[in-house]
Symmetry: C2
């Protein structure tokens, strides 16, 4: 039974990447899932996807016309989710936010940890299931961690984010500092702004 | 900072044992926690604790007069929790039920899996953290799995419950079938009932 995997509305890089990463992992473990998004990627995320030649995800407005089960990443609150979230069953949640306005009719798989980025938790699941992270996906997941932790400088950054970010940079074969600054710059769109202002 | 760990009101064997097991694990990992209960153990749980010479947990009616943070096992709904749950922060939840009437002000560690018993999930955490389960605690955790799954016969039983139950029986050095039937009989209090009726 096919499932859709998605992050929150007004997606940031983690919302888009965590969906791609978790969908990949679930499919490797035998599930049939598709990573989608609840909005177009922002400038930073476009830079990331273009950099690693990864297609933009399909944007959905409703889930229940396609599937009966969904997987939430990088959010849990119903207001931040798909419009018809009440009409589908949530089978998995992977998140790093507080829990609020969330409930289910049945038991589910829910994993939240107080870390800086959802993709950090997803990397742990790859390790636990002994599934290799492909180089391109490692680049995307590193980007999500850099985005959520502002290159390991936000107060929400944990040791796990740093250690896993560095591992992902190695797998992806990029210098996280150099790439990270370029990526964050693409997000703030400094070049354009300077020209405009 | 000390934390209290407890299961739901009207505790069953899993609610009492999961609190003891998770408190033990957290303390091994450096935390300062105490397993308590929201009610007296029932007949089945008394049999289990007596069998493994384990003390009955202290029963609390309030948490906020002792601690500012708590850990919930085998439940998440506020109605099933301590009376003043709204006055403390929940730092961890380990559960195997649906999520409802639960919310937090901050990010937390939340792990739910759709398995038959909370103690099954806690055993996985012991393994992941490479912490050994002492023989006596293994006996208690096996009892919780037998109780929640009715000796692997309830429809909620999963392969994980069976595999982990068998491992725990080995560590505890008991025959799970023989011990399990004795334990379930103690819970239904067949001997007394037959005499009374
Ligand atoms: Mn996000
Ligand atoms: Mn995030
Ligand atoms: Mn219970
Ligand atoms: Mn239980």
């Amino acid at each position: 039974m096919k499932q859709l995997v998605f992050g929150h509305k007004n997606p940031d890089t983690d919302a888009i990447v965590a969906a791609k990463a978790y969908s990949y992992l679930l499919n490797q473990l035998g599930a049939d899932t598709e990573a989608v998004a609840l909005g177009e990627p922002n400038d930073e995320t476009k830079f990331v996807l273009d950099h690693f030649s990864e297609p933009y995800p399909r944007v959905i407005a409703k889930a229940s016309d396609e599937v009966s089960q969904v997987v939430l990443v990088d959010h849990n609150e119903h207001q931040q989710s798909v419009a018809d979230i009440e009409d589908v069953a949530v089978s998995h949640v992977i998140d790093h936010h507080r829990i609020a306005n969330f409930s289910t009719a049945s038991p589910l798989y829910y994993r939240a940890e107080p870390v800086g980025c959802c993709s950090t938790i997803i990397f742990k699941e790859f390790t636990e299931h002994e599934v290799e992270v492909p180089a391109k996906l490692a680049g995307l997941m590193l980007s999500a961690i850099i985005s959520d932790t502002l290159l390991f400088k936000s107060p929400t950054t944990t040791d796990d984010d740093i250690a896993i970010g560095k591992k992902l940079a190695e797998i992806a074969g990029v210098s996280y500092e150099e790439y990270g600054l370029e990526m964050l710059k693409a997000g703030t769109n400094l070049a354009t702004k300077t020209a405009e202002e």
